[in-house]
């Protein structure tokens, strides 16, 4: 008999939820997390859409460490010295069925652990799983810290930089164009200063995304999220593009901090943490095999992440995938069959859920981003130029806007513009 019904590797977003679902169904489950506490190794932007969390923990609002509810959405197109910002606010952002909150993972992930532990899951912290134990093709356990522990099913929730996915299901390590690198700083700022700068109450705040000069035109974008008394500021840039750049990613973030649109927003704040993490962005086409004999992959270990340019979503996908993985594993254990056939209901459940459906809808987007560099340089510049023409007045007689706009559009090429717009609409 195996030591446990199930072993979950990694306790980010997917892991504790999978463990919770197994434990509530009476299964013995061990979670192994390499951080000294869950969250110690994890980074997100981070805005969490609550829908997936609510399905597993309907009462999460009572005590989950959420920073601020997002009630302001901003997108800025930046030139080096200018920015055109669109702001969207909507009472529906306060509707509990579709709201979102900013989170800090070192606080949020331990809360998820507490839910899994309360349901009966066991935890080992501070040790990484080094390899999987296999009997032929079948995964039968894990090797961690010199010990071998066996289980009828192993669920890999070890995130985008999984060192185990290859051994589990044979997926090669991700290519340069299917991952982006994220860099982020948490900048401490008084709660009331944040409230004033973002015209919001202490429980509410903003999600703000940036294109153009935020990445000096490289494929990717910038983000800013308001926490209770700090600001999360960072960049996500496609690896394949960044390795060719004329600057380093750390310098890119430094320049972004000093951009005239950003500098006044973080003025007086103190950096308290500097972090880096990969983000999966290959989309649907980069999804690996999700199950094998005795093994399943959930969350970003299986490249589940949506990068639609204007937003990165991985946490709600990981939570939903963890939920389905835990439930399907429990059923497979009940049926006494944790072969890949017995675990097949997991794939079906994911295909029927928003996780795979949304990834499918956006499947053309990664390719569109990679092959439309104008999105990250020319168009943000064009937007700022048009705005400049509209808003700056120096007393020389006005020209009609259409006359002013024409030379700018001609530079881009009307054909290019139409072509990119068509591709963009198709990709979304």
């Amino acid at each position: 008999m195996a030591d446990f019904d199930a072993i979950v590797v990694g306790s980010g977003c997917a892991g504790p939820v999978a463990a919770h679902e197994l434990a509530t169904r009476g299964k013995s489950v061990l979670v192994i997390e390499r951080g000294n506490f869950a969250g110690a190794k994890n980074v997100s932007g981070g805005r969490l859409y609550t829908h997936a969390l609510r399905e597993v923990f309907p009462n999460f609002r009572d005590d989950a460490p959420l920073e601020r509810r997002v009630v302001r959405e901003r997108i800025s197109m930046l030139e080096p010295e200018a920015g055109l910002t669109i702001e969207f606010s909507d009472e529906q952002m306060r509707d509990e069925s579709q709201d979102s909150y900013t989170v800090l993972r070192a606080q949020f992930d331990p809360w998820l652990v507490s839910q899994a532990e309360a349901a009966g899951a066991e935890y080992i912290h501070g040790i990484a799983v080094e390899s999987l134990i296999k009997d032929g093709n079948r995964v039968t356990g894990v090797s961690a810290g010199g010990d071998e522990i066996s289980a009828d099913v192993v669920i890999l929730c070890d995130g985008v930089n999984s060192l185990l996915a290859e051994q589990a299901v044979g997926t090669p390590r991700p290519s340069r164009s299917s991952v982006a690198v994220g860099i982020k700083q948490v900048i401490e700022l008084d709660e009331h200063v944040i409230n004033e700068r973002f015209t919001c109450s202490s429980d509410e705040g903003a999600a703000w995304l940036f294109m153009g000069d935020a990445t000096h035109g490289h494929v990717g974008g910038g983000f800013l999220y308001t926490n209770k008394n700090s600001i999360s500021l960072g960049l996500v840039v496609t690896v394949a593009d960044m390795v060719e750049a004329d600057t380093t990613i750390a310098q890119l973030l430094e320049d972004f901090r000093q951009h005239p649109v950003i500098a006044p927003v973080i003025a007086g704040g103190a950096v308290v943490e500097h972090s880096g993490h990969l983000v999966a962005e290959g989309g649907y086409n980069a999804l690996p095999t999700l199950i094998g004999d005795g093994v399943m992959l959930a969350g970003e270990s299986a490249m589940m992440c949506l990068n639609a340019g204007y937003t990165v979503r991985g946490m709600d996908l990981a939570i939903a995938a963890g939920m389905h993985a835990g439930r399907s594993a429990a059923t497979a254990l009940d049926n006494g069959d944790t072969s890949s056939k017995g675990l097949g209901s997991y794939v079906k459940a994911l295909e029927d859920s928003f996780v795979i459906k949304d990834m499918k809808t956006l499947r053309r987007f990664p390719d569109f981003m990679e092959h439309t560099p104008r999105m990250f340089s020319t168009y943000p510049e064009l937007a700022c130029s048009l705005a400049r023409q509209m808003f700056l007045v120096d007393g020389t007689p006005m020209k009609p806007v259409r006359k002013k706009a024409w030379p700018l559009l001609k530079d881009v090429g009307l054909f290019n513009l139409l072509k990119d717009a068509r591709k963009g609409v198709k990709a979304l």
Partner: protein
């Protein structure tokens, strides 16, 4: 590859704000003995901790104490410049307090 514009950021000062348990003398990443300069330059650009540095035209030896364990160099240096990449030993490495 384009030449680097002047670098003004002091990443080490930022890393100094982070919390680490440093595993002295036991780095979890190994760079190939004589890394090819062009490939090394990619890591200079991409590492969010700025750990890969050049001395003029020469790759410098890397101190991984400030590593953020992101795995980006593992992807970029796969098979060529990174000889081995694993997670730090038990309880070691970066410990985010915010994340």
């Amino acid at each position: 590859m384009s030449t680097l514009k002047p670098i003004t950021v002091n990443v080490d000062a930022y890393l100094g704000l982070n919390k680490y348990e440093v595993d002295e003398g036991n780095p979890h990443i190994e760079v190939a003995p004589e890394p090819e300069t062009e490939l090394f330059k990619e890591l200079v650009r991409i590492c969010p901790a700025g750990l890969y540095k050049m001395d003029g035209d020469q790759p410098m030896s890397v101190d991984f104490a400030g590593c953020l364990e992101c795995g980006t160099c593992r992807i970029v240096g796969a098979g060529a410049i990174i000889a081995s990449w694993r997670y730090p030993s038990a309880t070691m490495g970066i410990e985010y307090r915010y994340g």
